[in-house]
């Protein structure tokens, strides 16, 4: 049923933004330099804003869920549909930047196609979000170049980060019945169709940064259907604490 697929897809998008936003917000007050602290906090804010748009629409489509806050704060781990890459711990700054670069390059490709969605609301969210995502890509790409083509220490750190994160990239390009049904209806692209452009951006950037393209035979999978790493529960325990401890409380 298309309604179920749409709801699931909106959760996948909304949860990617929400969890990555919550994750990188952990850098607030801990950035390596003030400008980066501000940059990542701004980026986190963009993601939380995008998550609000996706989840508001999800709540509307589903019908019986009250609002976006309800979806963000009252679901448990197994009901979250984000890709695992968004919940991995921040690590050092190289790891955070590698993740930002990989995810932003993917998100820009996705939103670029969603600009032509037959669903007006998705089209609107994409038009709004892509302007932000392009800045995220520019920011993280600049840092990949700077670290890769920087000192031996920075080069080794970003290379290790890319290697460590690579096994989480496969899930971004998976499709199941949800995507297949919505794609047939002209609402979304298949994720696998985004891979060619994405890998080109990644390859070009890594080459310019004097970095090697990682190779991983094994790809992690499962987040999109609710099978997460142990890290998501810890994120939720912090993010959802207030609504769990004081149900219904308002800011």
């Amino acid at each position: 049923m298309q309604k179920d697929s749409l709801f699931n897809y909106l959760l996948r998008q909304g949860d990617n933004s929400l969890i990555l936003g919550q994750r990188i917000a952990e850098w607030c007050g801990h950035g390596p330099v003030l400008e980066e602290d501000i940059a990542l906090t701004n980026t986190a804010l963009d993601y939380i804003g995008q998550a609000t748009l996706w989840l508001e629409y999800a709540a509307k489509v589903e019908g019986s869920v009250k609002d976006a806050d309800h979806l963000a704060f009252l679901r448990d781990v197994f009901d979250f549909k984000n890709c695992i890459i968004t919940e991995t711990p921040n690590g050092d700054y190289a790891y955070t930047i590698a993740r930002q670069f990989i995810y932003s390059a993917y998100q820009v490709e996705l939103l670029n196609v969603l600009l032509n969605s037959s669903d007006e609301q998705i089209k609107g969210i994409a038009a709004k979000s892509i302007k932000e995502a392009r800045y995220h890509l520019k920011h993280s790409r600049d840092w990949v170049l700077r670290m890769g083509d920087g000192t031996e220490e920075s080069h080794n750190r970003i290379q290790k980060a890319l290697h460590d994160i690579w096994a989480y990239t496969g899930e971004l390009f998976e499709d199941d019945d949800v995507e297949i049904e919505l794609h047939a209806a002209g609402i979304i692209p298949l994720n696998q169709s985004l891979y060619a452009n994405w890998i080109e951006v990644v390859k070009d950037t890594l080459e310019e940064a004097t970095l090697e393209l990682p190779a991983s035979e094994y790809m992690q999978s499962g987040g999109r259907t609710g099978k997460h790493s142990e890290h998501l529960g810890h994120i939720l325990s912090e993010m959802q604490f207030l609504q769990r401890a004081y149900p219904g409380s308002k800011w």
């Binding site: 980026t43 804010l45 609000t52 609107g124 709004k128 932000e132 392009r134």
Partner: protein, 164 residues
Amino acid sequence: MKQELTADDILQILREVEDPEIPVLNVVDMGIVRGIRVQDRNVEVDITPTYTGCPAMKAIEEDILEVLNEQNFDSVKVNTVLLPAWTTDWLTPDARLKLQEYGIAPPEHTTADKSALLGGPKFVTCPRCKSHNTTMISQFGSTACKALWKCKDCLEPFDYFKCI
């Protein structure tokens, strides 16, 4: 209410609503107000967000409701619309001047930033000494809509209202 207010009258009233982050600009200057419909004693205003996560949007919505509720309408409604997506090209010429005087470099035309995103050169004028000899410190600044720049002539750092 003595006389029916028109959409134009309401637009004038909305000029009283300031942007909470940049108080020299009002919501009309910012290009946030996208539509006004008045029917009998009911009014609906469409607004569009500048950035998806901009914390000022909620405050702006409440401020709009407040000034319009003073006009004794039967109902006042504020809708959020996403399409077409907000662009800094909608800042009025007057708004650009106000930003400059306030010490924030107004956005260049969007094409300038698009070229910069693709690695091309970009020129931003220092709002204090008007020098073009400026450089970007960070693409992200004190709010979502601003980047941090520095003037290499007068040496002052300044905010640049980035183009989207």
